[in-house]
């Protein structure tokens, strides 16, 4: 058997990518990552060498979904999930009782306070890295960067684990319309197949519309002809490459058809009104539509929380947006029976300092901060971990970015210790030594 070598591993020839396929994948992938990502994207058998296909199929059949509300720039834990009213560092806001006994959150989140039965708060993140890029790299992938390997982010891992090969909708959609701190996300060694469909300038995907010069009827006729020829061809020349070619065409057609998922005007006016007038609200509604249509992972970035000046005013604006939009989203998911299968996460690259600076701002802080997990697999009404009375340090239940990654995977029913094989290197889904926080899981 002939072999091709890529990224330090030998891949059997029948797993190798065709030249056309390689160029096609390379074209949609960032320069520099093409070689690694493009090759491995075609070789999931190799990456998943240790996984029972039955287990994977069963997992995918459960229709589990994730919505990540990315609080870009770093929201303050004091003004959200870990208020310290009366402390020197606490700021001016009060803590309010939630509908979970003994759990208090900032008064800036009154609507979410009444939905705490869906939500577990983790108040004890210590991720150490307090610069935007480094913090985001760490939190998004659950591990420190490694010059020898491109790690996939959470969205790509979930897309890989929960996405269906035959799916006609994207596996990973990322919306980040603000320009500050904009990050596309990365599928790393999982390859372009799991890279996000990234929407930045517009909430409607660009370049997937049918050309005006091709009539609708012609478009469908061409697809039918291609499918018929493909089936006939595959009948006598069955191989993974041919299957892959067919599934790629199906996905492209699916993506073209999915444009309407991004069009919230197709929702009843009452539903649109409930989500409110803000762009973040609109994007939460898009996220619900995508989840409902079967997209496993949707990231909605709400920038920009980097409140070095006027922290309290900034959080009055942004928390109002988060509180309302996320509350409506949780209600909507619950009413549609989707919340039991959907994990909703709020997370950013870090939190903010206990000290209030001269501009009435808070600066970057990664030593003791918070996130929230709601819905699927989560024990609602729990506040896990503890910081000291002024919020300088974690005093109970310290959790790393890797632990959080493992917790999210565990909530989804994914074995965080399962290993991908990249070259000869075993790479667990969550970093070595990570432990899920069992107290927040059902």
């Amino acid at each position: 058997m002939s072999h091709v070598r890529s990224f330090g591993t030998c891949i059997p020839a029948h797993h190798a990518v065709s030249r056309r396929g390689f160029l096609s994948e390379g074209a949609v992938h960032a320069a520099g990552a093409v070689t690694v990502a493009g090759c491995f994207a075609s070789d999931m058998g190799q990456i998943h060498a240790l996984r029972s296909e039955e287990v994977a199929r069963e997992l995918r059949n459960q229709d589990k979904r994730v919505i990540l509300l990315w609080l870009a720039g770093g929201a303050s834990q004091f003004e959200t999930w870990d208020p310290k009213p009366g402390a020197k560092t606490g700021g001016p806001f009060r803590a309010i009782q939630t509908n979970a006994t003994g759990v208090h959150i900032s008064e800036l989140l009154p609507e979410l306070s009444q939905r705490m039965h869906h939500t577990a708060i983790i108040r004890s993140l210590n991720t150490k890295i307090a610069d935007h890029g480094g913090g985001a790299d760490l939190v998004e992938t659950g591990r420190l960067k490694d010059p020898g390997i491109l790690y996939p982010d959470l969205g790509a891992v979930v897309a890989r684990e929960l996405g269906r090969l035959e799916s006609k909708v994207p596996d990973y959609v990322s919306l980040y319309t603000s320009t500050e701190g904009r990050r596309k996300g990365t599928s790393g060694f999982l390859g372009a197949r799991y890279a996000p469909m990234f929407l930045s300038e517009s909430m409607i995907p660009l370049n997937i519309a049918r050309l005006d010069s091709v009539a609708e009827i012609d478009h469908h006729a061409r697809a039918g002809l291609r499918e018929a020829l493909g089936i006939r061809f595959a009948a006598s020349r069955r191989s993974q490459t041919v299957d892959s070619q067919n599934s790629a065409y199906q996905r492209v057609q699916g993506l073209m058809a999915s444009a309407e998922l991004f069009d919230i005007t197709q929702e009843p006016a009452e539903v649109q009104a409930r989500y409110g007038p803000t762009q973040f609200g609109h994007q939460c509604l898009i996220a619900r539509r995508l989840i409902e249509a079967g997209v496993p992972f949707v990231k909605v970035a709400r920038a920009w929380w980097d409140s070095h000046g006027q922290n309290f005013e900034t959080h009055q604006e942004l928390c109002a947006d988060l509180d309302h939009s996320m509350s409506v989203l949780l209600d909507d998911l619950e009413q549609r029976g989707l919340l039991k299968n959907t994990l909703v996460i709020t997370l950013g690259e870090f939190g903010r300092t206990p000290q209030i600076n001269s501009s009435l701002g808070r600066d970057h802080f990664a030593s003791a901060w918070s996130c929230s997990l709601s819905g699927l697999g989560i024990r609602g009404g729990v506040a896990y971990g503890k910081t000291d009375p002024e919020g300088h340090t974690v005093v109970e239940g310290e959790a790393s970015a890797a632990d959080l990654f493992a917790t999210i995977l565990a909530a989804l029913g994914i074995d965080h210790k399962h290993e991908y094989t990249v070259g000869a290197r075993p790479v667990p889904l969550a970093d070595f030594g990570s432990k899920p926080i069992l107290d927040v899981l059902t």
């Binding site: 009213p85 009366g86 020197k88 001016p92 973040f280 920009w304 900034t314 001269s358 501009s359």
Partner: protein
Amino acid sequence: MDENNTPGSTEPPSAALIAVTLPNKVTVLKTFPLPGIGFCLATASDKSLIYTGLSDFSILRANLSAEKIEPAAVGVNGHTSYVMGLVRCGETLVSGGYDCSLIWWNAESGEIIRRSSDAHARWIRMLAVSPDQTRIASVADDMQTKLWDAVTGACLATWGDYEAQTPQGFPSMLYAVAYSVDGKWLATGDRTGRVLVRDASNGQVAATIETPVMYTWDPTARRHSIGGIRSLAFSNDSSQLAVGGMGKVGNIDHLEGVSRIEVFDWQTGTRRLEIEDSKHKGLVESLQFGPQDAYLVAAGGDNGGFVSVWNMADGKLLAQDVAPMHVHDFELSLDGRSLIAVGHQQGAVINLFSVSG
């Protein structure tokens, strides 16, 4: 030093002296530590005794004539959040805070005389007292202006007329309030840069002034806003209104806009002066006209602080220096030659000199 420069000075100087002597130097005379952020200031009539409301929810009293200034707490069990407004009416102090309450205190004993726990539905941002000390005006993020009987604590009037939300759909804020020196007018200013001047007797809006540069909405990079009108001051003849805040901001993560003042002949709506400080950035948190309206003193800051003196004849800078802290409030002495300021973790006595040559 001219004896009129001392903060405790009670005798107003002659008008002739003020008319010809514009300050051209700002000097910090002394500082004193505060256990938190001093947001607001009230003084006894002789200005040697000051009161300040803080971020630790307390009100402190300090004797500026003491050799070592050691602020001490006024009373206990007061506010449960930041104290943002403080006025003195005779022997009574009235404070307002982010806990939405107004509290009447005996200024001497610290005893609480009266408490209105739900004076406003949202954060109280500032108080102003009428010149005759019979009325107190409060503004809050419920976007209402309320008028209170300074003695009985009765709410005499509630005035709205502001939008609850910014044009982009986020909560607005009503930051500033000032009485005219003749007591007839009441000015208020909000986050979006709208000033309303009301007849203080009946709340009727006499003038609406827009200062949109004070408000920055970032629609692209960060999708939130910063700024707002943070200070208002009527001239001594009540004909002019100075509005303080910050100019347009590029990176709204920081207070990096230039400090900005607009001065209006408010009854005609004419903007007399537009002052942007090229040297000091940040919010103009407090404003006060000097004697005979010859100059305007402004203070505020970003991560640092500033005190500036502007010539009201032409809007040019007369004197300026960094303050030892971001200044949130100040009061000018009766002679207009010194000021007492409070701000981030500190208070200060600052003199305004006229240095010849």
